[in-house]
């Protein structure tokens, strides 16, 4: 199963509707759930409460990551600089698909490969290793926004072990998107908006970003 398929079925719990088909109704995609009260111009309605501490987010990340690895990513030893890492929490070697590589370019691909080798404490004492689940979500994001290649986004690794994209919109304003295992952090300088959205509104978030780059 591809990474994107894993995201579609394991993370979001449904399959994505083909793009040439009419969008499915919300209740078809999320049976038993109500649609988020989402402002079409702003994603503020689903922002994670600011009061949540970094430590709480870290604990939640580790728990989510652990569950994800157990469910969908088979454990396998990982080779680090010629020898096998011991007690590594990593599962399969994390890789990106063709679309993601095309969008990120040679420089982005090289940076990503470096990130996969980082160990805990990589930034002079702080810094979690790359989250495989973050890579999965990044890949799903890029697969749905092939036009982003025009903007030549940069890829970063945050202290939380999450991948982050950064680029400028057509007006030169910065856009940053951090891919958490269970949410997406964003900063849209041109709109003076920043916050965090849950993965349940991934499709709407994609549309929001699409509107900023079209």
């Amino acid at each position: 199963m591809t990474l994107i398929a894993v995201l579609d079925t394991s993370v979001l719990g449904y399959g994505w509707a083909p793009r040439n088909r009419a969008p499915a109704r919300w209740e078809d995609l999320f049976p038993g759930g109500e649609q988020e009260n989402l402002d079409s111009k702003s994603l503020q309605a689903v922002i994670t409460p600011e009061g949540q501490s970094f430590e709480a987010l870290q604990e939640e990340r580790e728990r989510t990551e652990s569950e994800a690895n157990t469910v969908s990513l088979p454990q396998r030893p990982r080779k680090v600089r010629g020898h096998w890492a011991e007690n590594s929490p990593q599962a399969d070697p994390v890789t990106l698909g063709e679309t993601a590589i095309r969008i990120l370019g040679e420089n982005g691909q090289r940076r990503f490969q470096e990130f996969t080798r980082y160990q805990a404490g990589w930034d002079v004492g702080r810094g979690a290793p790359l989250s495989p689940r973050s890579a999965t979500i990044l890949e799903a994001f890029l697969a749905r926004l092939p036009g982003l290649a025009t903007y030549q986004p940069s890829i970063f690794l945050t202290h939380n072990g999450n991948l982050e994209l950064g680029w400028e919109d057509s007006g030169g304003s910065a856009i940053e998107i951090e891919f958490w295992p269970d949410r997406i952090g964003y900063y849209f300088e041109g709109l003076d908006e920043e916050g965090t959205v849950r993965l349940e509104v991934f499709p709407q978030f994609i549309e929001k970003v699409r509107s900023l780059i079209s």
Partner: protein
């Protein structure tokens, strides 16, 4: 024992890791200045060359990337930026000497806003890596 606050007249530097600065595209991530207990180093007793030597000591030979630059900022300027941001925050820099880095200090407050972090990053005076003598 409470840590001693650095004076607003002092300058400090923040190490910039290769993961957070895409030099090929000249973009920096706000992650450089987000989070809690952000590490900085005082320019007091140690020069840039000595600080880079410390960072090399910690990272060289590991697969963990490199410190490619440091960003210098005046403590008073950092505090002014925090105070005047739309989501105002009182920032301090507190001395936190460590065995490997006696000039180490931290910003104990949690900087949550990427917008604020980006303003701070814009204010940094960037110094590239210096070769050891």
């Amino acid at each position: 024992m409470p840590r001693v606050e650095c004076s607003p007249e002092e300058n400090v530097v923040r190490a910039i890791h290769s993961a957070q600065w895409d030099r090929a595209k000249d973009r920096k991530s706000s992650a450089i200045f987000t989070g809690k207990d952000i590490s900085v180093s005082r320019l007091y007793g140690l020069g840039l060359r000595e600080l880079f030597a410390i960072f090399h000591e910690q990272l060289d030979g590991s697969p963990n990337g490199t410190i490619i630059a440091v960003g210098e900022i005046n403590v008073g300027e950092l505090q002014r930026i925090g105070r005047e941001h739309q989501y105002s925050i009182e920032l301090t820099v507190e001395q936190d000497p460590q065995e490997g880095n006696p000039a180490h200090a931290v910003i104990p407050q949690e900087i949550k806003k990427r917008g604020l972090a980006r303003v701070i990053i814009e204010a940094l005076i960037i110094h590239g890596d210096l070769p050891a003598t």
